[in-house]
């Protein structure tokens, strides 16, 4: 991890925003490391979750919002469940990725493209259309060979529907997303 000049880059607003949006008291974290010990994704993270908690306490907005870990947390709830001070750590990770998204940071681009394609599928059909979602993801990332090996395993099973199963209330679905955008939400 690079050095951080804490006093020069302390951002009090950032700390307050994370606290308010997550409804968690960040000061309760005393760096016991239980969250990191139980996190199955630490091997893939650039910053382990307890250090993210410390960076947020220290108001290090840029360092926090640009890290890859935010895009690799699966919300498996291990950190939240095992925190001795009852901090909902997974909720804080969620809040941080909301903020990262709004500020345009997404160092794990493929993950963001997958999530975005998923939600667009929900917006358009009301339910996820799995084959369409994959086609969109491949078109956007150019990863044509992603999971190519799985095609002969899954296609004969007849499980991948070739057409979506749209809901009747398609307009209702569109309005949920539209109102969210109108209220300033970042998609």
């Amino acid at each position: 991890m690079d050095g951080v000049n804490m006093s020069a880059s302390f951002d009090a607003d950032f700390v307050a925003q994370v606290q308010a949006a997550s409804e968690q008291n960040l000061a309760l974290c005393y760096q016991c490391g239980n969250c990191t010990a139980g996190c199955p994704y630490t091997f893939a993270y650039d910053i382990p979750v307890n250090q993210i908690m410390r960076l947020v306490q220290a108001g290090q907005k840029h360092k926090t919002l640009t890290c890859k870990s935010l895009w690799l947390c699966a919300t498996c709830e291990s950190c939240t469940t095992r925190c001795p001070n009852d901090i909902d750590v997974a909720r804080i990770m969620d809040v941080l990725r909301h903020m990262a998204r709004c500020e345009g940071h997404a160092p794990e681009r493929a993950v963001k493209v997958f999530w975005d394609s998923f939600l667009e599928s929900v917006r358009k059909h009301g339910r996820v259309f799995e084959a369409g979602l994959l086609a969109k993801y491949v078109a956007r990332t150019g990863r044509v060979w992603t999971d190519f090996d799985l095609a002969p395993r899954i296609i004969p099973k007849g499980k991948l529907a070739l057409k979506p199963h749209p809901v009747k209330g398609l307009q209702e679905m569109e309005k949920i997303f539209k109102r969210f955008e109108e209220q300033g939400g970042c998609l």
Binding site: S78, V111, L150, I176
Partner: protein, 305 residues
Amino acid sequence: MRGHSFAYYPGCSGLGTSMEYDSSTRAVCKALFVELHDVPDWSCCGSSPAHTVDHVLSAALSARNLAKVESTGRETVITPCPSCLTNLRTAGHRMEKPEFRARVNSLLDTPCKGDVQAKSVLQILFEDVGLEMIAASVQKPLKGLKVAPYYGCIMNRPPEIMQFDDHENPMAMDRILAALGAEVVPFPLKVECCGASYGVARKDVVARLSSRLLDTAVSLGADVMATACPLCQMNLDLRQEQASQHSGRAYSMPVLYFTQLMGMALGVAEAELGFDKLCVSPARAFEAMAASTVANKQTERGSRV
């Protein structure tokens, strides 16, 4: 016999990659006198992508469905999928705060009161139907089948929201499988994450986490793994070869939904259980089980003579 009746939320994968979970759930519920009423015009709960974008948006996608349940007058909705479950429950939990509920409702056409309870199919089978009824309904016991029960990460976590079973060592599926006559191995990674939805964007991550689960099931001598989650099943079954490539160990571990095993023991017609939808066929494990049952019977007869 007095049955149970619930609103049923199948979840999107039930229409596709986990269709055998949906069909076996419906068949098992029918066999155990549990009436399911599909949520009218249900839509996606937003799964993981929605809550990573925004909590109000995520709750609104769930709340549209909870409002549909409210409109039918039912108090409890059940779902086989832990990801749907966690979204429905989290939305309900957060909407207890009027201010949050108002923000959610500002995105919806039909406001949601938020008083519908969401439970998993596993929970109602364990708590409402009960082990006694399940054991009494067994027609073909799963004698001799060694099963590793795998719950996945969010069926029981976080405990404040999920309110079901033990969050570190859940036992509901273990005890159901045991009631069916199976030999349940104590699986220490019951609640460890399999890699979730990163299969597409980061399959290296899924291969690593899933191979650890498969390794453990193999080392315990399990014939099959039982899952309760469509994503876990997909990672462990469809992506099993990717996990093998990662670890250098060739797995051939059938990964079934616990409802498929229940259906089998309850004598449900095989067409409804969808064993042919699995990538790793359970046929060998089932044959071995049948053979050991025959052998046991012969030994019993032999000892009587």
